[in-house]
Symmetry: D2
Subunit: 387 residues, 4 copies
């Protein structure tokens, strides 16, 4: 890391500790995440500290970090579940920014990326559908886009759309004659309707997760993102880094849970000695540190692959990372609950919510089973090629 | 099982399915569990069906079931998280009823047990303290009771007191000169103060879990439960069966989660075939069935020990059961979330809440680590005795 | 259990302890199991003690035990890896005896079962083939039997045939026009050829496991076992109980490993206290006891199903038992190695060989994966039937 | 890596594949490892290929690799269990060479290191004692060295001394007045007696593991290694890298097991399709690749720490690596056995022996429990320092 990047990470850590963590009990955090009001307040402070959207290019106000630097920065930010919101690096906005930087036209960047990067609006990524369409199995997508003069008309249903409630615009994946295509669409009107916001185990993503109906959504042709029919290719470009930034942010959360458990176990007495002196507890904390280190190494390795090989690379590596990191972080969070005992299942420490969020993370961006399935397919292909 | 008991279990199953499950989305279920209003409504229906408090003796309106029959009945009741509330067999009331039946004087039974068994009041069990007192390590208890003429005056702090908010009376464990003693005390006054109700991962126990202050609580001497100084002995009498009824109720919940996952996996398509035809999913469901069977066998074995050996027996056996069953049920719940994918982390199925409740169960009545610790001590003692 | 059965189990335990265990270091135990010489010597002592072949009917010298009694007896016998050989209840002989009792004609019983039950000869079960035939996937069987007058002529290759080296006769599974058929055939001639005996991780089954070639094996028609074309049906009759007796015998071995580890951990000092006082060790031993209890309950439950429902029952139940018990016993054996440290990977205690044998057990009679697969198929069938 | 180092690794891989693997069925591999005759034959070929003792400095015939280069080279060498013997990088010789390079006097290097590095002799490291002395708990060491003029006289017992049978010299750890001290002693005489060689689960280390008696071993004062009383300090210098080279070598073995399982699963049919197309198998192979990658990253990270921080560093990091890598490699080996089914528990593939060796590895150089214990102590110390 350059000195500048190391300094940035240090500043993020201090900002989280001193500025963000005090907001954690804020009443504006509801079951569908922090309110927009709270988000704006936090982001104003991050902007003042020069820490807003650190990953995007300098022309959009960021620091133009590479993936390995992003890993350091996002892990530091994730130390509070509010950190990624404060720094404007929460999903899906962060992944949307990254994709727009790579794929959008200059005009699209000005219209959509700039306000997103500045925190003026939030965004959504409308891909997953009920009945399995475009979720783990993208071949089942049913939303369609039909050309009508200089516009496209989109109809369909989407589900589990993170951040849709309150988003300024969305990137819609729809089936066109030549394949899946991505469209940039303003949100807030009656055509992109939020049927309901789901009540979920996690509660840190602004806007929560929505079920939606798209009814005759008219999008001008110049709001096609990239080329027609290339939607799944761009989704892949978005997917590998987006999976990995999930790993990074929740790594920070798991570290926080661990530090909380260590602090408790060092001072709480049981049966005549500090909890940590009981091997049953100390061993769990030792395993946490090993898991944290392994997850960190896995993230950095995959980030390095993305840095070296660029767009579209890292599909298999990010599958490795998603499985290994999400499962390791869940083990950590689960152990921390266990170490805290009764306290661990209450909101009196951040561990309870971290446990819940990381349980959801094991599903988001593909459950381990889907990744193992695709890794096995690649193993077979390589074995047959080598034969 | 007798025919009568088998019939009772069948009626409970039908009642849960037809009467209780439709209430599951009721708005009166808040983050601290179902409201008293909802509880009363459900219990009225159970009373009408002859299913209220089935475990207590016939003189208190129940069916006088033995532990093995209780196992069948409670597993059936647990199939809805509302079931135990509806049947008045939820913790801590159920354990309190069982202990009062065994330990209370006739006058105490009339005054406290009868209204509890009939659903007229709820109760609490005030044992656990902040800073570890009387939790996993009972030697650290700090609440005291001092005699003052024909009364005792109790002072102290209690935490994680389930159902305290709204309870009609409580059983308070306090330190007296000759050892720990249990007192029956009316609640609702200013002397037994609820400082706050904790926000916890579970949300099915009426009244939630409270932190409390006991300030000059005056209890007449005839409200001592059992003998002075025998509190921990009675706590043991309560503990083994209470641990086991937790296992039973949550077994039912895990079975519900499994049935939900099986239903989903049988009909939901992915990559061209039903989910269950993917071994990655089918194997999880197979493991669920094996775990359910093992947990059932463990419960029935321990219940049999309690039936044969009576009061105070089953301490080690219930430790075995608590560890094995709570961990098995959590694996099941976790797999069910995984099978359901995104749906699994929402409130659209009961699985999400079952997962959360069972995570708490792994802590309640002693985390696995404490049980393993006490089992190891017994192994050592036996090994040295055999030498 | 009847008093007689309980007494028998007690006598078996004493016989193992006093008579069999002293043979454990005998030089006649080679890498392919105990020599026939040693087997005969051990069985003579069991015969004298009235303990030989206790499971078979009284008319063949046994005690006519039901499955639940067998469970008690075999667990006791398994306490030494030599115990099942001594009592003549080792695979495949024990399973062959059970099948012959159920399926063979009276003449066949006299000719084959009687000498087998008396320990005069050993036997083999020739089913599994190289290239997967009649192993986990029986549809792939390639060995054929063709009628030639009053004889049948069998050709094919078999693999992993336990006990073939030195067996007096074998039960051969072969494909006939109307389906798979079982044949009783004398062994020892050139037509049933042992190509080689495999070097395997286990070393307690007399004769080891052989790869074999069957070349023009002529079997008289009256040595067909049961009816033509019913081979797989009989294999199922054999399979469920045979799987379960594996569980029983190795349960005894795991108990032995555990007792060895407990003894060591109670007396060996490390860092100033006995190993067992280290939670890292004590917890492993506690988990062992829980696993042993669960495995015992699972075995008894499945045995009860076989007792109540008879021939051909228990397929799914024995799949449950095989998966749960074999995995539990392996966890136990692995923990025992770990508790013993360096000593655990040497032949200085029986734990090393128990660990190796139980690793093999996880494969024998179907790896867990095949059982999970078939359990999942049944779950699906039931779910669809219930819909 | 430099080009030269990358080239070396490639040459090692080719040498293993083409030259070493064909020796794997050699009859000179007994239960106590390959014979000295076989070792000499293999090392002659490695010497001819310029690959002998690649880790030691150029002045002793090696390539002077740093730890990260060693990681690459040793993983490649471990691909055959005979590879480390062939390249003269097997424990304990490799660790002894590394320590002698750092600690020995010039004269000692000529006398002991040079013939060891050239393959002329083997060596042993006599530290562990029966009854726990100098094993996991070094404070219990009972072997003593007493000065007698210009000599020291050593008495005591040692156990689990790898490679002692046939070693030319040994490094003996003994208690002196000012602390533990290391002595270089010629072996082969009556004073350093091999009581017996243990029969162990592994069988790849030449000479196996011996129990020994040291009786009046007279060592001249100039054969003290390093300074008097500094034995444990040097043991630490030896320990961290030695643990890590274990990880490296067995990583190669696990990779071999995985490749064997992949090859089998790709071509073996079951239930109508290749095994690998069954998710139950494919997922195991996917988990193998994830575990291999994580283990590789952990090794490289720890090697990097050793490269940067030098002698005596890496104690905690190598504890992390030992736990994570040994447990990961065992999971891999266990899955490979499972994928291979019956074949997996025979000597027909290298997987069986790899499984056995890696089970032993989980004990060697400290079982996971000892490492977790020391990690927990460090966590506590840091937590208290931070408070």
């Amino acid at each position: 890391m350059t000195d500048a990047a190391a300094d940035l990470v240090e500043r993020i850590s201090a900002f989280i500790r001193e500025t963000v963590i005090p907001y954690e009990g804020d009443a504006r955090i509801g079951k569908h995440g922090p309110s927009d009001d709270l988000r704006i307040e936090l982001q104003a402070k991050a902007r003042a500290a020069g820490l807003l959207s650190p990953h995007v290019g300098r022309e959009f106000g960021g620091h133009g970090l590479n993936h390995r630097q992003i890993a350091q920065a996002f892990r530091a930010a994730g130390y509070s579940l509010l950190g990624p919101v404060a720094l404007n690096i929460m999903a899906p906005d962060e992944g949307n920014m990254a994709m727009l930087e790579k794929v959008a036209s200059e005009a699209q960047k000005e219209r959509f990326l700039r306000p997103l990067a500045s925190g003026a609006v939030r965004s959504a990524f409308l891909m997953t559908e009920p009945d399995g369409g475009a979720g783990s199995d993208p071949s089942m997508m049913q939303t369609t886009a039909v050309q009508d003069g200089n516009h496209w008309v989109i109809n369909g249903r989407k589900t589990f759309i993170t951040g849709a409630d309150g988003a300024g615009f969305g990137i819609i994946m729809a089936r066109t004659e030549t394949g899946a295509t991505m469209f940039l669409a303003d949100m807030g009107g009656d055509d992109i309707r939020i049927d309901r916001v789901l009540d979920t185990i996690d509660r840190t993503m602004p806007g929560g997760h929505a079920m939606m109906t798209l009814e005759n959504v008219r999008v001008p042709a110049d709001q096609i993102l990239g080329e027609i029919g290339q939607g799944f290719k761009y989704a892949q470009v978005r997917l590998a880094p987006a999976r990995l930034t999930h790993c990074m942010r929740w790594w920070g959360a798991a570290k926080r849970a661990h530090d909380t458990a260590v602090e408790y176990a060092t001072h709480r007495m049981a049966f005549g000695k500090p909890l940590i002196d009981h091997e049953g507890v100390g061993f769990m904390l030792a395993d946490n540190e090993i898991d944290l280190k392994q997850a960190e190494l896995m993230i950095d390795w995959c980030a390095g692959v993305l840095d070296v090989h660029g767009h579209g690379a890292g599909t298999e590596e990010s599958s490795f990372a998603k499985v290994a990191v999400s499962e390791a972080l869940f083990r950590i969070a689960d152990r921390c609950v266990q170490v805290l005992g009764g306290l661990g299942v209450t909101d009196d420490t951040p561990v309870h919510q971290i446990f819940r969020d990381i349980r959801a993370f094991r599903i988001y961006d593909g459950p381990s089973e889907v990744h193992r399935w695709s890794i096995a397919k690649r193993i077979k292909k390589r074995a047959l090629a080598g034969a």
